[in-house]
């Protein structure tokens, strides 16, 4: 052998390896599931893997996308009207100011075979309010004091004070099987047993979760037999997987993808953007300046250009008509640049810098929206300094540990009201003891009174009054309600829910 042949040998080695590796690519593209199996198996891609299956512990949307099909609550929301309707409870009534009577549904079994009884309800309630359990969503049930078994299918729920929203709160409380939880307390982290239409068949961590239809379900039998969840974080990648036929359903699609996807369905969604203003100190303390800011934003332009129209403008409040406390007389501030400039001049604004705090990446186009808003404020004459923080830092500014820290002049956030009740928003952002409030004491008394008012008509009126005051003396700039866009294959039939829950039992194939 000499140099020449050696070269030829090595060269051939290199070339053949390249051929082998590249030649493989000419085979058929990745084929989707064969048609026969497709009829009853659906493949869904969600943004990321759930951190746990313990629905009582975590506040994790990805977990909910899976677990909402497996577990149920005493009450739930009707998919279309968003009214509170019975689920595992059949009747609910108030006995006195702090006691509620709940009658339970008979002949319901958990996926593990155990019957559903009052014991499970009492256990579930006690667990979630137990301070040692450290549930991340315990705040929703702050008013729950105790639960008592009255009969095999009847319980009493005791609240710490009058709580008109109690039934709505029950929609967030999932019922667990006491027997299984006591026997195998850690099982819930990966394989929760519920009463719902699907049970967890497997969870291959890092890869997929598979659900199988629960044939012993007490309600109507869902048409899809098997559900496979995949986790694809990047929006573009998720859309591409749908386009390629790798999956049947992709959640949280961007408006830009709509024209490229086989089928798209939307729902109004729960999330409203808002820019909270510091009404207590600093430049924004002046009411006129806050009003000027409200007039300065062209929400229509933002909706049309950033969201391709898949966003509606908040009607002068961050509530939807179905919410308790919605004021139908309020309309959004019109976009009026001249008026904004005029108000700004009248207020005596001398060009002081306004700090605008935001985050990026948590919600759809939050960063883009923030930058657009800042620009519009500048066009109106504000001097804006945008500070985009990492999510955890931004949280620390919005919800400061130390209540004496000075709030920023403006801070952007998305707000979703999980209990469809005005109290949630006002108690958090307006009440001076709220965790994210930068508003003076003026409305405190009214908010607290409305919170505990048991007469629904009176309560509604009180909230409308608060809403009107906030309209004139804003605590925040009302933003837009972005639509929830789901992409799906041409043969999928599904109307996304207003509460953004992903219910496979409502899905079917053509």
């Amino acid at each position: 052998m000499n140099k020449k042949s050696l070269s030829i040998f090595l060269f051939t080695l290199v070339v053949s390896t390249s051929l082998v590796l590249s030649g493989c690519g000419t085979a058929a593209p990745n084929t989707p599931n064969p048609t026969a199996a497709k009829k009853d198996t659906i493949s869904i891609a969600i943004p990321s893997e759930p951190s746990t299956m313990d629905v009582q512990f975590a506040d994790d949307g990805n977990m909910r996308a899976v677990a909402d099909n497996v577990t149920e609550s005493l009450m739930t929301l009707d998919g279309k009207t968003m009214k509170v309707i019975p689920e595992l409870a059949t009747e609910i009534s108030r006995i006195d100011n702090t006691t509620w009577d709940v009658k339970l549904r008979p002949d319901v079994t958990f996926q593990n075979g155990n019957p559903f009884t009052a014991d499970d309800v009492v256990y579930s309630i006690k667990r979630i309010i137990d301070p040692n359990f450290k549930s991340n969503i315990a705040g929703f049930f702050a008013t729950f004091k105790d639960a008592q078994k009255v009969g095999d299918l009847e319980v009493h729920i005791i609240t710490s004070g009058p709580d008109p929203s109690m039934p709505t709160r029950l929609t967030m409380l999932n019922i667990l099987n006491q027997k299984e939880m006591i026997a195998t307390p850690d099982k819930i982290k990966t394989a929760i047993s519920g009463t719902g239409p699907y049970k967890i068949a497997s969870w291959a961590k890092g890869q997929s979760i598979v659900l199988e239809r629960n044939d012993n379900y007490w309600g109507p039998k869902p048409s899809i037999k098997t559900v496979k969840y995949r986790f694809i974080e990047e929006d573009a990648t998720r859309a591409a997987a749908l386009k390629n036929g790798e999956i049947d359903f992709a959640t949280n699609m961007l408006p830009e993808y709509v024209s490229t996807l086989p089928q798209v369905q939307t729902a109004e969604g729960l999330e409203f953007s808002l820019i909270r203003m510091n009404a207590v100190s600093g430049v924004m303390k002046d009411q006129k300046i806050r009003q000027a800011a409200s007039y300065a934003i062209n929400w229509d332009a933002i909706s049309k250009s950033l969201y391709s129209g898949y966003a509606s403008i908040a009607p002068g409040q961050v509530f939807k008509p179905s919410y308790i406390g919605f004021n139908k007389n309020l309309k959004a501030y019109p976009f009026d640049l001249a008026k904004a400039k005029q108000l700004l001049a009248e207020s005596g604004y001398k060009g002081e810098t306004i700090t605008f705090v935001g985050e990026q990446g948590r919600w759809l186009k939050d960063g883009e929206q923030e930058q657009a808003i800042a620009q519009m404020l500048r066009d109106a004459g504000f001097k804006v300094d945008v500070k985009i923080l990492a999510f955890s830092q931004w949280l620390g500014v919005l919800f400061p540990q130390d209540p004496t820290t000075t709030p920023p002049d403006m801070i952007f956030t998305f707000h979703s009201n999980d209990i469809y009740d005005a109290d949630r928003s006002y108690s958090t952002y307006v009440l001076t003891t709220g965790s994210a409030s930068s508003y003076p004491k003026t409305l405190d008394a009214q908010i607290i009174a409305a919170r505990t008012e048991l007469d629904t008509v009176k309560r509604q009126q009180m909230y409308e009054a608060i809403g009107q005051t906030l309209y004139d003396n804003p605590a925040w700039i009302n933003g837009i309600n972005i639509k929830d866009i789901d992409g799906m294959g041409k043969d999928v039939v599904y109307q996304p829910r207003e509460d953004m829950k992903l219910m496979v039992s409502e899905m079917s194939f053509k």
């Binding site: 060269f11 590796l21 969503i137 995949r230 974080e233 591409a240 390629n244 949280l395």
Partner: protein, 306 residues
């Protein structure tokens, strides 16, 4: 020999401890994970409560003591985000990253060694120039960008490969090729330089004049002597892949490796998990370095460990 082993182990220990300590002090003295763990409407009292339960209101030294006493028993605490033992969560995606990096290394070696040898045999030839140029490109192109470009061409346009996730062999092609490009460039250069050195040595002339087959001369002798440098560089690149490049590639291709886990853990500010992952990766690198050192006698029996 014994002192050498002791010294190596001591150094390894210091490295692992050093990194862990650094991460610990950084995370505990600044940063506030409580806000992330609670839903957006949580009250002040709820935050104070959780802060206390996580032990974050203690002084950094006290927290360090708690942590250290746990580690000694092999307990890194429970991941705040996933509610499982932090070490379990950290170890789970490790095999994937190791596999991906391993495949990438194999791909780069398969190309780098022949190309490097050929270039060394024919310096300044067209092949040599091409190899130098392409290895340069390999080093300079940002790997995450390359990944995106490959997805654009091969997944979106041509539909040859899937865009993300795991599954059959198709899912491995784009990520491992992307990951392999940089090591390929560097290793090719090292092979070339090392081979050039060896081929100039006296023993090569001797071997050739003895009439030994060229193939033997190159592989049995020259390559073997160059082996130390090549192995060192390969090991170094493997370590850099596991501890660095894989993070970007796993992010681009949506892969469930330890790289994506650390990015998520940092996003969640899950300190126990970050601590555990740092520890695991530090151990991997240290073990890798030790293995490289131990392999030297294979290439040069004259190397003794003092």
């Amino acid at each position: 020999m014994a002192t050498y082993i002791l010294k190596t182990l001591l150094k390894a220990l210091v490295v692992v401890l050093g990194v862990s300590l650094l991460v610990f002090v950084l995370t505990r003295s600044i940063g506030n994970p409580v806000n992330i763990m609670l839903p957006l409407g949580a009250s002040m009292a709820e935050r104070a409560n959780l802060t206390h339960q996580l032990g974050l209101d203690k002084s950094v030294l006290a927290q360090l003591w708690d942590f250290a006493s746990g580690v000694v028993r092999g307990n890194f605490g429970e991941s705040w985000w996933q509610q499982e033992s932090a070490m379990t969560v950290a170890l789970r995606p490790l095999p994937f990253t190791l596999e991906l990096s391993g495949i990438a290394l194999v791909i780069s070696l398969v190309f780098a060694i022949p190309l490097g040898i050929l270039s060394a045999l024919k310096p300044r030839s067209l092949l040599d120039k091409l190899t130098s140029t392409s290895s340069m490109f390999g080093i300079c192109v940002p790997n995450f960008w390359l990944g995106l470009m490959l997805i654009l061409i091969f997944s979106n346009l041509l539909h040859w490969f899937p865009t993300s996730g795991t599954g059959g062999w198709r899912y491995w092609v784009l990520p491992s090729v992307t990951l392999a490009v940089l090591p390929l460039g560097r290793i090719t250069q090292i092979v070339r330089t090392a081979m050039l050195e060896q081929l100039r040595e006296l023993y090569v002339v001797t071997a050739r004049s003895k009439g030994l087959p060229e193939f033997w001369v190159v592989t049995r002798h020259a390559l073997k002597n160059a082996g130390i440098q090549i192995v060192t560089m390969s090991g170094w690149e493997l370590g850099r892949m596991i501890a660095g490049y894989a993070i970007a590639i796993e992010s681009v291709f949506g892969l469930p490796g330890i790289g994506s886990l650390i990015v998520d853990a940092i996003g969640q500010q899950d300190y126990p998990l970050i601590q555990a992952i740092t520890f695991v990766i530090a151990i991997c690198i240290v073990v890798l370095n030790i293995l490289i050192d131990l392999s030297y006698p294979l290439f040069n029996p004259r190397i003794k460990f003092k």
